[in-house]
């Protein structure tokens, strides 16, 4: 039993920390996120050069074959730097779905350009009514000879406007809420019958609603077996939750440390405000919240594919939501008036945490899922 990083993980951590320190100050981030698709293609090219796009992709898929812990290390650093890049959408969702779901013949054609930084992907799973349920799917896909015809609207698609290829969740059978009858299709984002309307979220990222209007898709674009897509979705979403939680932990630590530094420098009543006990105790609470969250992240990462996996994941996302909210609010409060300005980075980190809470189920949702597991006979 140990919690040390491997040599490779330590190198990945060092290289990502170096990138943020040397090339990604807050001003650069603000410029990047304001660009057309919510990120800078040059930054993405750097990610490809550094090998980061291959980290969670299997060796068979041409990737590094990294573990959940490898991804964690990278995502935590990206969180600290508040990096605006579609890593989650293109690599963790689109890339992993292809890697785990596509036949060998198809894999390389997507994953090679993806790893080289030349292909952007997105995962269109949400719908207006579905909220946090992954099985609530109204979009339909009907078999017509060698093709499927897809109709419906997907909402809040991360990187939906910048993506070249999309993976769409559609129902091939069953009722609206059934886990069976769900299928995944890889489609060209520029195909006739695909209509994209983009908008921004509070963290600055560009998302899109994607309307599929009698879109014809070749049966060969089906990912996995017809009607059996739900299991694959759950598996990939679970690993995305781990990655996202690592990013959130990076942000929480950054906010906690920034608050300590600020209160040491800020003087009132002739003393640094960090010398006031009431503020010290609040910063200790922030610190403890970070450490407890780190413990759950380690637990979830170490529990992948064990009987403790689901419990750990729900507890983790619950705590990311709750502790993230607390740390964000406290960081603003302890920065005083500066905390509410747009100029200071604190508020931007807080907004990213708030968006993370709403991805793949918020704290309340995961708390209920945890209780379902624990409080049943």
């Amino acid at each position: 039993m140990h919690f040390n990083l491997s040599e490779e993980q330590a190198m990945l951590q060092a290289s990502s920390a170096r990138f943020i320190a040397q090339q990604y100050p807050f001003e650069v981030r603000q410029q990047d996120v304001a660009r057309a698709n919510g990120f800078n293609p040059a930054t993405w090219a750097t990610f490809a050069e550094l090998g980061w796009l291959s980290v969670p992709i299997s060796e068979a898929g041409g990737g590094f074959g990294g573990s959940a812990a490898d991804t964690m290390v990278l995502m935590e650093e990206l969180g600290k730097g508040l990096v605006a890049a579609p890593y989650l959408a293109t690599v963790m969702l689109f890339g992993r779905l292809i890697d785990l779901g596509a036949p060998e013949s198809l894999k390389k054609s997507y994953l090679e350009p993806l790893i080289a930084g030349q292909l952007q992907g997105a995962f269109a799973y949400q719908e207006r009514q579905s909220r946090y349920s992954l099985s609530d799917v109204k979009t339909t896909a009907s078999r017509k000879g060698e093709n499927y015809v897809l109709s419906g609207e997907k909402t809040l698609v991360m990187n939906g406007a910048g993506a070249d290829q999309l993976i769409v969740v559609a129902r091939t059978s069953g009722g609206q809420f059934d886990t069976s009858g769900i299928s995944l299709f890889v489609i060209d984002a520029n195909a006739a019958g695909v209509y994209t309307n983009s908008y921004r979220l509070m963290d600055g990222q560009l998302v899109a609603n994607i309307l599929l209007d009698n879109l014809t898709v070749a049966a060969s674009q089906l990912l996995g077996e017809e009607g059996k897509g739900y299991e694959l979705i759950e598996k990939v979403v679970n690993s995305a939750v781990l990655a996202l939680s690592a990013e959130a932990l990076g942000i929480m630590n950054k906010l906690s440390e920034a608050t300590q530094e600020y209160t040491k420098a800020r003087k009132q009543f002739g003393a640094p405000i960090s010398s006031f006990q009431v503020l010290q105790h609040r910063m200790v609470d922030m610190f403890m919240a970070c450490e407890q969250t780190r413990s759950l992240l380690y637990r979830a990462v170490c529990s992948v594919e064990t009987s403790d996996a689901d419990r750990s994941l729900h507890a983790l996302k619950l705590m990311i939501g709750r502790n993230g909210r607390m740390i964000g609010s406290e960081a603003i409060q302890l920065h005083g008036g500066m905390g509410v300005t747009d100029e200071l980075d604190v508020g931007h980190y807080v907004k990213r945490l708030m968006v993370i809470n709403t991805l793949f189920g918020d704290a309340d949702h995961h708390q209920q899922r945890l209780a379902q597991i624990s409080l049943t006979k």
Binding site: H2, Q367, L375
Partner: protein
Amino acid sequence: MDISFSAEELAFRDQVRNFFKQAPVSEVTALIAQPDTFKEGTIRWQKHLYAQGWIAPTWPVEFGGAGWTPTQVYIFETERVAAGAPDVLPFGLKMVGPVIYTFGTEQQKHRFLPRILASDDWWCQGYSEPGAGSDLASLKTRAERDGDHYIVNGSKTWTTGAHHADWIFCLVRTSNAGRPQQGISFLLINMTSPGITVRPIPTLNGVHSLNEVFFDNVRVPIENRIGDENKGWTYAKSLLAHERTVIARVADSKRRLEQIRQHALKETQGNHVMAQDPVFRSRFSEIEAELMALEYTELRVLAAQANGQGPGAESSLLKIKGTQVQQAIHELAIDLAGPYGGIIEGSLTSGDIGHEFGDQARKDYMYGRAATIYGGSNEIQKNITAKHVLGL
């Protein structure tokens, strides 16, 4: 990053599991639960562990300990709690024992350690005083030299188990020069010494555990001093960090929460069991997540110790979170007991009425209020963390 067990560790787990299966767990638990037989049950259980060679898991082998790795300690604790077996008393085995083998003389080691291991001596801790609680270093109990003895005068308070104890390890003032921390010495005092009086302090849970201890010209041989005169604070501090890790009681909280779960699946309200009550579910799962995190916080501390980093400032975090979780569990338990949580045993007990956990819930809740106070109050732990971890 790896939490898997090796083949040897898995074999060890089976051995431990088997040991607890055959141990007289229910007998000693019943004895310990009753105040009249508490001491008898405790000693019987500790002697059982001693006979197996497992009474002191973390002590080095050369001093009679098991010399286990942190992983083995974790496995042992997990199995102990799963079996519902009691913990050992900390004062001798987890507190003064390590101080003696780390800082004591050869003669002290030979004299005290074997009797601690065999539970032949019952120890208590003389730290707090009426005027020295969180500000422990302001303690005033004096020890003045008289030939080859100290003459001790003063009083200690909140002394758990002093009425059972054969020995007390005490912080006493031997000098008023310099900072308060600089004039403190660490003495081992026989409780049968003339001039010692023990007076009980009745507490909210109705069970006698706390005492005041008065010292009136008590003669203590100089050979009973640990280490150097006026250096006692250093030895005491190393013990405090251990004490905090012990107080977290993560494994026990897991067991308590599981007991609540079992009760909630049976306890009804109207046409549903309490496990289906949305507010109960919310409170339960909030505690559960915090406890799942704490389990790994403890593992992280253990793993750091295995790397040679002693329990330092992070032990404050374990103490704060551990006791917060304990109290949240106590609160949930007494609320689950509902109107049966307030029953004091008379001609009927809560068990007679069919709510056997109500009485325990009340005692736990009341005694549990002390958890955030003893071992250095949680507010003091936050001060320590602010200063030594965050550098504020």
